[in-house]
C-alpha cells in the first residue's frame, strides 16, 4: 500500500476516462454506418465479405432473426473449432507433434473459446499446436469478441430506436467490428507488445523453451476480453508480458472496449450523459474493487503473518509487477470478463480473492466482457429504472420508453439466469464425488476453487483459482496418456454455453421489445437516468440484487479464509 501504488491506480483510472470518449465515439461512427478513415483501405474488403456471405447490408433483422444469426454463427464456430482441435495431429504448424487432447477437454475448450470465456483446463504450450492456437483459438478470440460487440450494438439500436422495430444486420455488424475495430487495434497492439519483447515466432522449442505466435494472440486475447493465454501461466509469463509498460498496455487493452462502449451507447441513443452515467456506475464499482484487493494484498496473508513475514502478500505474484499492478490486473481481469492474469489468483488473500469473485458475480457488468458487459449492465439499468420509476410515481421509463411487463420478465430472466447457474453448478460440483475429483485441496480453499471455477465459467470470465482441474496430463508436453475429468469438463461447458447465450437472448429480446415502443418526451416528472442519484441507485441495485445472492457462498470460501487468522 505505497503512495506509488495508489498513484499507479489513479493514473490507470485517468487513462480509462480519457480513452472512453475517443474510442467510444469512433465505434459509434463505425456502427451508425458513417465512413471512417479506414474504410478507404478496407471498404473493398468489407463489400467483398458481403458478396461472399451473400448478405444484403441494407437488410435489417428483427431481434429474432438477429438472434438466429448469432446462434447459427456460434454453432458453426463451435463445430469448426472442435474439428481443428481434435484434428491438430494431422494439421500443419505442429512442431512438437501434439495429438488431440481428450474429447471432453476439447469439448470444454471449444465451448470456452466460442463463448468468449477462455477457461483453460489445458496448458496452451503443452497441449496445443501452433495451428490450433492461431487458426483455432486466436480466430475465435476475434470471432467471439465480435459477436459480443455486434449484439450490444443491436441492443443499443433497440434502446435508441424511434420508430423501427429492427436491430440492424448481424453480418454487417460482425464484419464492421472485425475490420474497423478489432483487427486494426489488435494489429497495432501486437506490434507494441513485440517492441517490448513479446515473442512472435513459428519456430520449434529452443532447449525446452516453447515459443510461438504469442504477440498476435496476446493482443486479441486482451482486447477481446478473452483471456486465454498462449502460455499456461498467462500474462505472468515474461514472453507474454515482459515489462511494466507492456503490463500497462495489456491492462488498457482489456478495459478499453468495454468502457468505451458506454460512450458508444451514449452517442447512439442521442445523449452522451446517459453513457457517462452507466460508465460512472461501472467506474465506481471498479475503483472500490481495486482498492479492496490492493489493501487486502498489501495487508498480507494469515500464513505469512504466522510465519512472521512482514509486508504484503507476495505469494504467487511476479516481482516485476508487485502488489499494486497485480491487484489492479486481478481486479481488471475479473470486472471485465477477460480472465487473463498476471499473478496466481489462488494465492490471493481471503478478501483479496473474494473481490475478484464478487466482481464476476455481479454478472460481469462492471465494464464486463466486450459487448456482453454493457448488454448485461443495461438489464440492471432497466431493473434500477423499474424500482426508481415506481418511487417517483410514474410507470418506469428509460430513454423515454416505458418498461412494461414483457421487459421486466425478460430482464429478470436475463439477470437471474447466470446466478442460478453458478449456484446450481457449484452445489452439484461440491456435493458429488465426481465434482470433488477436480479439487487440489480441501477446506475453504477447496470450496473457493469450486465456487470460482463455476462463477468464472458461467460468467464467461475464464480466470481460475488454478488448483481446480479438468484435465490430467501425466506426461507433458503432449497429450499422450492424458485424460479429462468429464464431469468438470462437461458441467463447465454447460455453464459457459448457458451463461453466454441465455442472457444474450434475453437482452436481445428486451431490445426487440423496446425497439417498437413509443418514445415519450422527458418532462419534469420524468425520472432522469443521467444524474448522480441514479448512478447511486444503479450501483445499489447491482450490489443488492446480484451480490446478495452470493453472500452465503462467499462466507464459506474466501471470507472464512480472510477472517480465520490461520491456515487450513
Amino acid at each position: 500500500m505505497t503512495a506509488q501504488g495508489w498513484l499507479q491506480l489513479a493514473v490507470f483510472l485517468g487513462l480509462i476516462v480519457a480513452v472512453t470518449p475517443l474510442l467510444g465515439g469512433y465505434m459509434a461512427r463505425v456502427f451508425t454506418g458513417e465512413r471512417v478513415l479506414l474504410a478507404r483501405v478496407l471498404g473493398p474488403v468489407e463489400r467483398g465479405f458481403y458478396r461472399l456471405l451473400r448478405v444484403d447490408p441494407a437488410h435489417e433483422h428483427d431481434w429474432k432473426a438477429y438472434a438466429r444469426a448469432v446462434l447459427a454463427f456460434s454453432l458453426v464456430s463451435w463445430l469448426g473449432l472442435y474439428a481443428i482441435l481434435q484434428l491438430q495431429g494431422h494439421l500443419p504448424f505442429n512442431p512438437a507433434g501434439f495429438g488431440p487432447a481428450p474429447w471432453d477437454v476439447t469439448f470444454n475448450t471449444t465451448s470456452s473459446y466460442v463463448t468468449n470465456t477462455n477457461w483453460q483446463y489445458y496448458g496452451g504450450e503443452t497441449t496445443l499446436s501452433n495451428f490450433s492456437q492461431m487458426a483455432g483459438l486466436a480466430v475465435q478470440n476475434f470471432a467471439s469478441a465480435a459477436v459480443g460487440i455486434a449484439v450490444v450494438v443491436a441492443v443499443i439500436r433497440g434502446f435508441a430506436a424511434r420508430s423501427v422495430a429492427t436491430l440492424g444486420n448481424f453480418w454487417v455488424d460482425l464484419t464492421r467490428t472485425l475490420l474497423y475495430v478489432l483487427l486494426p487495434i489488435a494489429f497495432v497492439a501486437a506490434l507494441v507488445l513485440v517492441s517490448q519483447g513479446v515473442v512472435q515466432s513459428l519456430a520449434a522449442a529452443h532447449h525446452g523453451i516453447v515459443v510461438g505466435p504469442v504477440a498476435s494472440q496476446e493482443a486479441i486475447k486482451l482486447l477481446g476480453t478473452n483471456g486465454g493465454g498462449f502460455y499456461n501461466v498467462n500474462s505472468a509469463m515474461p514472453f507474454e508480458n515482459p515489462t511494466a509498460f507492456s503490463n500497462l498496455v495489456e491492462m488498457l487493452l482489456i478495459v478499453c472496449i468495454p468502457a468505451a462502449l458506454t460512450a458508444t451507447f451514449g452517442r447512439m441513443v442521442g445523449s452522451r450523459r446517459q453513457g457517462w452515467a452507466v460508465f460512472a456506475g461501472m467506474l465506481a464499482l471498479f475503483a472500490v474493487a481495486v482498492a479492496i484487493v490492493f489493501v487486502a494484498e498489501g495487508h498480507g496473508s494469515p500464513a505469512q503473518h504466522l510465519a512472521g513475514v512482514a509486508g504484503g502478500n507476495m505469494e504467487g505474484k511476479e516481482v516485476r509487477f508487485g502488489i499494486a499492478d497485480s491487484s489492479l490486473f486481478a481486479a481488471i481481469t475479473t470486472v471485465t470478463s477477460c480472465g487473463a492474469v498476471n499473478a496466481a489468483m489462488q494465492s490471493l488473500t481471503g478478501f483479496g480473492g473474494a473481490l475478484p469473485m464478487a466482481s464476476m458475480m455481479t454478472g460481469e457488468v462492471v465494464f464486463g466482457g466486450v459487448g456482453s458487459g454493457l448488454a448485461s449492465m443495461l438489464l440492471f439499468v432497466l431493473l434500477a429504472v423499474f424500482l426508481a420509476g415506481l418511487m417517483v410515481g410514474r410507470t418506469p421509463e428509460y430513454l423515454g420508453k416505458k418498461i412494461g411487463v414483457r421487459e421486466v420478465k425478460l430482464t429478470m430472466a436475463g439477470t437471474l439466469a447466470v446466478p442460478l447457474l453458478v449456484l446450481a453448478t457449484t452445489a452439484v460440483a461440491i456435493a458429488t464425488r465426481a465434482g470433488k475429483a477436480s479439487l487440489s485441496v480441501h477446506g475453504p480453499q477447496g470450496f473457493s476453487e469450486t465456487l470460482y471455477a463455476y462463477t468464472s465459467q458461467a460468467n464467461n470470465n475464464g480466470s481460475a483459482f488454478a488448483g481446480y482441474s479438468g484435465f490430467v496430463q501425466p506426461h507433458p508436453p503432449g497429450n499422450a496418456g492424458a485424460s479429462g475429468i468429464a464431469f468438470a469438463d462437461l458441467l463447465g461447458s454447460g455453464a459457459m454455453l448457458a451463461g453466454r447465450f441465455l442472457p444474450l437472448l434475453a437482452v436481445l429480446a428486451v431490445a426487440g421489445a423496446l425497439a417498437g415502443r413509443r418514445v415519450a418526451p422527458a418532462g419534469p416528472g420524468t425520472m432522469r437516468t443521467d444524474t448522480p442519484t441514479f448512478v447511486v441507485l444503479l450501483v445499489g441495485t447491482i450490489l443488492l440484487v446480484a451480490l446478495l445472492t452470493f453472500v452465503p457462498a462467499l462466507l464459506l470460501g474466501p471470507v472464512v479464509q480472510g477472517l480465520a487468522g490461520r491456515t487450513f
Binding site: 423499474f386 418511487m391 410515481g393 430472466a413 475453504p444 416528472g525 442519484t533 464459506l556 480465520a564
Partner: protein
C-alpha cells in the same frame, strides 16, 4: 369488535393454498410454515421450542399479510353494503303500460318514473324534467336537475325522483348497472392486477426464486464445510430473504389506492386507469366551469359619446331586469354598485319584457313606447339599422377592445340609438394559478380548451396561468389535439360531461366524466367523478402516483432489509463452522449485532420480518406521501428513507427483539 373478528376470520380463510398461490412470495412462506410445522411434529435435531417458535412466526407472517389485505377490503365493504341496499327491487312501470322487475330491465326499455319513486335502472331521460336525489351515490344532499336533451340527461338506477315525472330509456344490461360496478369496485371484487402490479409481481417472484436456490444450495455448501443446517433454520433464512414485506402488502396497497379514490368520490372503472393517471403528462381542461366561474360577470360600462354613463347604466339595468341568467344579474348588480340605481325605482309599471331567443340573440324591454335591447354586438347593430339609425364607429371599437382584453362585449341600444357596451368578464376561479403551478411541479402541462376566439382565450389563459390553450375548440379539434399529444408519446387526461365530449373522453388515456354529464360521456370515460368537480383530476393524479410510490418504496425497503437479516442469520448458522475445538468459528466475527445466541438471532430475524408487516400496514393503506418536487429530488428522498432506512432499521429492530428473546426469554 365484530369487524375485527370478521377481518381475522377472513384472513384465516385466505390461508387456502388455492388463493395463496396467486401471491408467489407469500405462498412460499405458507409452504415453509407448513414444512416447519411438520418438522416440529416429527421432531429432530433442534429443540422443540425453537422449531415451534419458528413455525408459529412463519404462520403469523402469512396471517399478517392476509390481515393487511382483509383490512383494506373491509374498508370498502361497509360502503358496498349501503350501496347494495339501494339496489332497487322496485317494479318498473313501462311506458307502454306493462310492468317489469327492475332487475330484468333490458337496454331500450322505456320506463316512467313519478315523484317519490326510485329510478329502476341507468338510463337517459327522453322526456320531462325532474329534480333527483342522488345523495346515495354522491353523498351530496342537494337534489340535482335531470332533463331530456342536453348534457344533464343521464340518470342512475337507485336514485330517487323528488318532483315531477320523467320518462327514461334504459341503457344498462341487467347486472351491469353503474351501481353494480360501484359495488364490485369498492369491494375489490372486480379488481384485476394492473400491468405495473404484474410487472412488480414478476420481479418479486424472480427474487423469490433466486433466494430459494440460494437456500437450497446452501445445504450442500455448508455440508462441505461440515455444518448441517436444520430445516427450520433454512426455511427461516428463506423467508427472511424473500421480499415478504412488499409481497404481503402488495394487494393491500392496490385495494387501498382504489379506496382512496372512492373516498374522494371518484369511481375508477379500472385499476389501469388509476395507474395511468400517475403518468399523465398533459391535462385538458374546459375553460368554462373549470378554470373560470361558469358565468361571466359585468365588469365595466362603456357609454357611447354623448351618452351619460348614468343614463346608460340605467338602461342596461332596465334591459336586464327580467334576465335571470347570471350575466344579466351581474349587470343589475354593477349598475347598482356604480350609480346606486335600485331595481324597483327604475322599473316602470307597464313594462313588457322581451326574452332572449337564439334567433334574435338579444333580449330587452318595451315600455312607454321606448324599446331597450341588449345582446351580441352584430345583433344590436342590425337592430339599429332596422330601426333606421346607424351605429357609431365607437361601438365597434369598444367591442373590439373588450374582446381583445379577454371579455365578452354586450351592446345596449335604445330604439335606434347605441347607448354603450357592457364589458362581461370571465372570472378565473380563485386558487387556479396555484393549482396549475402545483401541476407543473408534478410535471403536468395544462391546456385550456375553450370555444372563445384566440384573443380572448389567450388573455384568460395568461390570467389563469395555464401552459397552453385551444381556442375555438370543436369536438373534432379536441380529439385531434389529444391524438397529436399521444403520437408524441404523452399521456393525456381530460374531463368532460357532454355527449360531444365522448369521443375525446374515450381517446384520452385518463378520461374523467362528470356524474352530472350524459350517459354517453359516463360510458366513454374510464373514471366518473361523483362530485362533478373538474379540478379533481389533480387529486386523481396524486393518488395514482402515490400508488406506484408506495409499491416502489416498500419493495426497496424489503430488499434493503436483507443485508441486516444476513448479518443476523448467517453468523448464527456458521457460528461453529471451521471452529477450533471449544471455540466459535471465524464467521462468528460477523455477528456485528452481538446477538445473544444463534437460535435467538434466527428467531429475532423472523420475528422482525413478521412484525414489520403490521407496522407498515398504515403506510400501505395511507400511501407514501407524494411531493411535487421533481423526480430526481423525490427519488433521492425516497432512496434515503426507504433504501437507507431499509438498510438500517432491521439492524436496530432485530437487536431489540434479540434483547427480549435472549435476555428475557432466555433463548
Amino acid at each position: 369488535m365484530t369487524r375485527w373478528r370478521e377481518t381475522l376470520l377472513e384472513s384465516l380463510r385466505k390461508l387456502d393454498p388455492r388463493l395463496m398461490i396467486h401471491n408467489p412470495v407469500m405462498f412460499v412462506v405458507e409452504l415453509g410454515a407448513a414444512v416447519v410445522t411438520v418438522a416440529w411434529v416429527v421432531g429432530g435435531g433442534d429443540p422443540g421450542w425453537y422449531t415451534l417458535t419458528v413455525a408459529a412466526w412463519l404462520w403469523l407472517t402469512v396471517i399478517f399479510g392476509n390481515v393487511a389485505e382483509a383490512v383494506a377490503e373491509g374498508r370498502g365493504r361497509a360502503q358496498a353494503a349501503t350501496l347494495r341496499a339501494m339496489r332497487s327491487d322496485t317494479v318498473a312501470r313501462l311506458r307502454d303500460g306493462g310492468e317489469k322487475a327492475a332487475g330484468e330491465l333490458l337496454p331500450g326499455d322505456v320506463v316512467v318514473v313519478d315523484a317519490g319513486e326510485t329510478i329502476p335502472g341507468d338510463g337517459t331521460v327522453i322526456e320531462g324534467i325532474a329534480s333527483v336525489d342522488e345523495s346515495a351515490i354522491t353523498g351530496e344532499s342537494a337534489p340535482v336537475i335531470r332533463e331530456s336533451g342536453g348534457d344533464r340527461s343521464a340518470v342512475t338506477g337507485g336514485t330517487r325522483v323528488l318532483s315531477d315525472r320523467i320518462v327514461v330509456e334504459i341503457t344498462q344490461k341487467p347486472g351491469e348497472s353503474f351501481l353494480d360496478r360501484m359495488i364490485a369496485l369498492v369491494e375489490g371484487a372486480a379488481r384485476r392486477k394492473t400491468p405495473n402490479e404484474i410487472a412488480l409481481g414478476i420481479l418479486l417472484a424472480g427474487l423469490t426464486l433466486i433466494f430459494l436456490v440460494v437456500v437450497v444450495t446452501l445445504r450442500p455448501f455448508a455440508g462441505y464445510a461440515g455444518t448441517t443446517i436444520s430445516l427450520a433454520t433454512l426455511v427461516s433464512l428463506l423467508v427472511a430473504l424473500i421480499p415478504t414485506t412488499i409481497g404481503a402488502l402488495l394487494s393491500a396497497i392496490g385495494i387501498a389506492g382504489m379506496d382512496r379514490l372512492v373516498r374522494r368520490n371518484v369511481l375508477a372503472l379500472s385499476g389501469r386507469a388509476v395507474e395511468a393517471s400517475g403518468d399523465v403528462d398533459v391535462l385538458l381542461l374546459d375553460k368554462t366551469g373549470t378554470i373560470t366561474l361558469g358565468n361571466r360577470q359585468a365588469a365595466e360600462l362603456i357609454p357611447m359619446p354623448g351618452v351619460a354613463e348614468r343614463d346608460f347604466a340605467g338602461a342596461a339595468q332596465l334591459a336586464s331586469l327580467a334576465d335571470e341568467t347570471p350575466e344579466g344579474r351581474s349587470i343589475v348588480v354593477l349598475a347598482k354598485q356604480l350609480h346606486g340605481l335600485r331595481e324597483p325605482a327604475v322599473a316602470p309599471h307597464d313594462a313588457r319584457f322581451v326574452p332572449f331567443t337564439a334567433q334574435t340573440r338579444m333580449s330587452g324591454v318595451d315600455f312607454d313606447g321606448t324599446r331597450l335591447r341588449k345582446g351580441a354586438g352584430d345583433a344590436i347593430e342590425r337592430w339599429i339599422v332596422d330601426e333606421g339609425g346607424s351605429a357609431p364607429p365607437q361601438l365597434r371599437d369598444a367591442m373590439d377592445r373588450v374582446a381583445r382584453e379577454g371579455g365578452t362585449p354586450l351592446a345596449v341600444a335604445r330604439d335606434n340609438q347605441a347607448l354603450g357596451v357592457v364589458y362581461l368578464k370571465d372570472v378565473v376561479k380563485e386558487g387556479m394559478r396555484e393549482r396549475f403551478e402545483h401541476l407543473r411541479a408534478m410535471g403536468i402541462r395544462t391546456i385550456m380548451v375553450t370555444g372563445d376566439n384566440p384573443l380572448t382565450a389567450a388573455k384568460i389563459a395568461a390570467e389563469a396561468g395555464v401552459d397552453d390553450f385551444l381556442a375555438q375548440a370543436t369536438p373534432e379539434a379536441k380529439l385531434a389535439l389529444i391524438k397529436e399529444h399521444q403520437a408524441q408519446g404523452r399521456m393525456v387526461a381530460m374531463t368532460g360531461d357532454g355527449t360531444n365530449d365522448a369521443p375525446a373522453l374515450a381517446q384520452a388515456d385518463v378520461g374523467v366524466a362528470m356524474n352530472t354529464g350524459t350517459q354517453a360521456a359516463r360510458e366513454a370515460g374510464n373514471m366518473v367523478d361523483l362530485d362533478s368537480n373538474p379540478t379533481k383530476l389533480i387529486e386523481i393524479v396524486e393518488v395514482g402516483k402515490q400508488l406506484l410510490i408506495t409499491r416502489g418504496a416498500l419493495t426497496t425497503f424489503s430488499i434493503a432489509n436483507d443485508v441486516a437479516k444476513y448479518f443476523a442469520i448467517l453468523p448464527a448458522i456458521f457460528a461453529f463452522t471451521y471452529a477450533k475445538a471449544g471455540a466459535r468459528g471465524p464467521l462468528d466475527t460477523l455477528n456485528v449485532m452481538q446477538l445473544g445466541s444463534p437460535r435467538s438471532a434466527i428467531v429475532s430475524a423472523i420475528v422482525f420480518n413478521a412484525l414489520v408487516i403490521p407496522l407498515l400496514v398504515p403506510l400501505a393503506l395511507r400511501g407514501v406521501r407524494y411531493r411535487p418536487v421533481g423526480a430526481t429530488a423525490l427519488l433521492r428522498r425516497n432512496l434515503l428513507v426507504y433504501g437507507l432506512g431499509g438498510l438500517i432499521a432491521p439492524f436496530v429492530g432485530i437487536k431489540l427483539i434479540d434483547l427480549v428473546v435472549h435476555n428475557l426469554l432466555g433463548a
